[in-house]
């Protein structure tokens, strides 16, 4: 009895630790986001300030012949405008005379051509006067140049001290804002850390008293499949299959068409209820769960996320919102909070949108972020599905034929991405694939099955050398 209560307490504690950790990461991300916003606002204000100073000095600068940045920029802009305008006028003239020439008889053409020349010359003259006027506007005043120069220097010095003062003010204000935000957030985060610590100590104290609840699974095993069997009517799709997937490896499941690979995935993610067999998953370093006990929509919360053999996206939503759909379990705001769009919901959205943007950037999908996925190339859609799995920081990603329909370059890119994902987050990757090149290239361990039965398990080299595997594949072909 006491043991059961202890077990219950430890379970509750672990659950609480999980939520606290989620809240902590949320707050940290939010803090980073808010600080970033403050910095951007600061940069913008500074830019505006500098621009204003430049504008206010412009007239004196011109007169003193000390072109500052603003003056030269303005001069170049107007020059460009002027040239464009005259180019258009020239083209309009040319077009008019072309039409006129087409209309008249050949004897009058010489006359028209002469007219055209005159018109062109007149236009040229007007252009040069306009250019001269422009240059005059931006030319320094010849008389009292020295006086003007000193006046400008004075004004500039004053403006610069002014500017420095204003910039200081801006910095001070933004620093204050930063401090305020950080102080508030850090206080919250520290509070969470304290209760985390307390809970961790409590669980540590309790844990020694409890019998180990890891079902005798070695530390380095992430997923253990034991005697898995799945039947559809009379057909045995998976037949007494057992294997281990180790932490942090890229594990490949191969087999001819209809071997039962997708069925294995569907059993792990609980779309099917296996006829027999147990599936264990190491949810965190200390806790192992039996996947058999969880409903299908809770699998993602345990740290397993999958893709489908045929792309399954939300076609009405832009790509980035598709990623947010995948972050569904990370939202903590309840329905009524969503109904009135509370501040908390907005903050959560902002944080998760940032995360989605980062993931899209990592996979090179940023240009597609705001497009509707409908009609995008197949390779991109596959990548979006992969991006979606990354939203929840899973411990294991299950990929069902990620390279199907990709060309060679895309497949190589995919291999690189799969490795990056594994290396960056220590995520274990479990994939089914028919492209042997990819499988042999990226996988650390491969399991080959045929008609639901295990043929061989080992490194790519061992699998390639295995007789049973060769027979299964050759027999099929």
């Amino acid at each position: 009895m006491a043991k059961m209560i202890d077990a219950l307490r430890i379970r509750l504690c672990l659950k609480r630790i999980e939520t606290l950790q989620a809240r902590k990461t949320f707050l940290e991300n939010l803090l980073a986001l808010q600080l970033n916003r403050i910095d951007m606002a600061k940069a913008k204000q500074e830019r505006q300030c500098r621009q204003q100073t430049d504008i206010s000095l412009a007239h004196t600068a011109i007169a003193a012949g000390e072109a500052n940045g603003y003056v030269t920029a303005e001069h170049d802009r107007r020059l460009e405008q002027l040239k464009q305008r005259y180019l258009l006028r020239y083209r309009a003239l040319r077009e008019t005379y072309k039409r006129k020439l087409a209309k008249v008889l050949s004897e009058r053409q010489a006359e028209i051509k002469e007219q055209r020349e005159r018109a062109f010359q007149a236009l040229e003259r007007r252009k040069s006067t306009a250019l001269a006027a422009l240059e005059a506007r931006f030319a320094p005043d010849a008389d009292h140049l020295e006086l003007r120069k000193t006046a400008y220097a004075e004004l500039k010095a004053k403006a610069e001290t002014d500017l420095a003062l204003r910039l200081q003010g801006i910095t001070a204000r933004s620093d204050r804002a930063r401090e305020k935000v950080s102080a508030r957030m850090i206080k919250k985060i520290e509070g969470i850390e304290r209760s985390l610590l307390a809970r961790e100590q409590a669980t540590a104290a309790l844990k020694d008293k409890l019998p180990k609840s890891d079902y005798g699974i070695p530390e380095d095993v992430l997923l253990r499949i034991e005697n898995l069997t799945m039947r559809f009517g009379g057909l045995v799709a998976v037949d007494d299959l057992s294997f281990d997937v180790k932490q942090g490896e890229i594990f490949g499941l191969i087999g001819p068409n209809g071997a039962g690979k997708t069925t294995v995935f569907n059993c792990i993610t609980k779309f099917y209820r296996p006829a027999a067999g147990r599936m264990y998953f190491r949810k965190n370093p200390v806790e192992v769960i039996r996947l058999n006990d969880y409903p299908v929509h809770n699998i993602i919360r345990q740290g397993i996320v999958r893709t489908f053999q045929n792309v399954e996206l939300v076609w009405e939503l832009p790509v980035i919102d598709n990623l947010l759909v995948a972050a569904h379990t990370l939202f903590r705001t309840g329905f009524f909070g969503q109904l009135i769009h509370t501040r908390k919901l907005k903050q959560e959205e902002a944080v998760l949108r940032k995360k989605a943007t980062d993931i899209l950037a990592m996979l090179g999908l940023l240009p597609y972020a705001h497009m509707i996925p409908f009609g995008l190339p197949y390779g991109i859609l596959k990548k979006i599905e992969l991006a979606r799995t990354l939203m929840v920081d899973p411990r294991m990603i299950i990929l069902d034929e990620p390279a199907a329909g990709l060309n060679d370059a895309e497949t190589r890119d995919l291999a690189r991405i799969i490795r990056t994902i594994r290396d960056q987050n220590q995520t274990t990757i479990f994939l089914v694939e028919h492209d042997m090149g990819l499988v042999m290239d990226v996988c650390d361990t491969i399991c080959a099955i045929s008609f639901g039965k295990k043929l061989a398990l080992g490194t790519p080299r061992e699998i390639q050398a295995d007789k049973a595997v060769r027979d299964a594949y050759l027999g099929e072909e």
Partner: protein, 356 residues
């Protein structure tokens, strides 16, 4: 001078933010509808127009709930009418006859709505598509039979009028009811857009696209199906409550399949995923004949043609614009822009010749 300019620019930016805000359109729309009331009080518009506006608002609320179910959740239901009828009778009987205060009456009505939503939601977990639609139709027919036979409450086949509504012990004028309906309408639009643009709305869409993908992403079918049905039943009952407060008369046989189908048609004609599209659809189905067609002598002489006109409209829209009329407006806007661009280019070429 410079300062003033930057100030104006800042202000312009803020204004832009306000205009771009999704609520802005709704609030302005609500304000325009209130202007209709002012015009009526000034005797400038006919009562038919006001009735058309009010009915469009009430039915739009119902259609908004329905669109969350159909357009986002992908769930079919033909039981809308029963719930609207329920709203009218509960509000009418308890508030209008028994003089219950407002809040308990509302609590009762919404409580019933939620229970019905839960029942249908649970059924939807087992039965899908057409069969689900037929079951909801059956439930609505049971409700209708119930209204007709319990004539003590509902007046049965002769209908019943409910006149003496009081809100917080004050008798309510028609104008006050109009304002209330407008406010509730705007709030319903805001609530709908908030749901659409939140994790719930995305979850509903994910469910509509693929049950299995949604589940693999942690979306519980049970939770969101129940939620979708509850939202739509609550909106339907709300519509019924507002209806009885304005029309003050409810006729049991009126809440039949035809009514549910008209709501369905309105949502499809307008465009199931756009709020203004739905309102447009409702106006075309319900408001148009009241406000416009009934004033055209030709249609007044041949009332049957109004029905034919509506039917033809639905057929045409469904055939040529499966995305709803709002899609037509959006694409024609886009096309107009494209056309103007081309025109500009053509003029330029004409004047200046081809680009060098």
């Amino acid at each position: 001078m410079l300062k003033l300019r930057t100030l104006l620019r800042e202000w312009g930016k803020n204004l832009n933010l306000i205009i771009k805000h999704p609520y802005f359109g709704f609030v302005v729309f609500g304000a325009l509808l209130l202007v209709v009331l002012l015009l009526r009080m000034g005797g400038l518009v006919q009562i038919g127009v006001v009735n058309a506006v009010v009915l469009t608002m009430i039915y739009s609320i119902i259609a908004l709930g329905f669109s969350l179910l159909l357009g986002f959740g992908g769930l079919a239901s033909l039981g809308t009418a029963g719930l609207v009828g329920l709203g009218t009778f509960v509000m009418g009987y308890f508030s209008g006859i028994l003089n219950w205060p407002l809040l308990p009456t509302l609590a009762l009505a919404f409580g019933i709505a939620i229970v019905v939503g839960l029942i249908v939601g649970f059924i939807s977990l087992r039965i899908e598509g057409m069969y689900l639609a037929i079951i909801t139709l059956g439930l609505a027919e049971i409700l209708r039979a119930f209204f007709i036979s319990y004539d003590k409450f509902t007046g049965g086949f002769s209908g019943r009028s409910f006149r003496n509504f009081t809100i917080f012990n004050q008798p309510v004028s028609t104008e006050a009811v109009y304002v209330t309906i407008t406010v509730v309408f705007v709030l319903a639009m805001i609530a709908t857009i908030n749901i659409i643009k939140s994790p719930t709305g995305r979850a509903l869409l994910a469910m509509k696209n693929s049950d299995s993908a949604a589940q693999s992403l942690g979306i519980s079918l049970m939770k969101y199906r129940l939620l979708a049905f509850i939202i739509s039943t609550v909106f339907a009952v709300l519509g019924g409550i507002l209806y009885i407060m304005y029309i003050k008369f409810s006729y049991a046989p009126q809440w039949n399949l035809a009514f549910s189908l008209e709501i369905l048609a309105a949502v499809i004609v307008g465009g199931a995923q756009s709020i203004f599209g739905i309102i447009l659809g409702v106006f075309l189905i319900y408001g148009l004949n009241l406000a416009v067609l009934n004033n055209i002598p030709f249609f007044v002489q041949n009332p049957a043609l109004i029905v034919i006109f509506n039917g033809a409209l639905i057929v045409l829209v469904v055939m040529f614009y499966p995305g709803g009329l709002i899609r037509l407006i959006q694409t024609s806007h886009f096309k107009l822009k494209l056309f103007l661009q081309k025109l500009k280019h053509r003029m330029k070429v004409r004047r200046y010749g081809e680009d060098d």
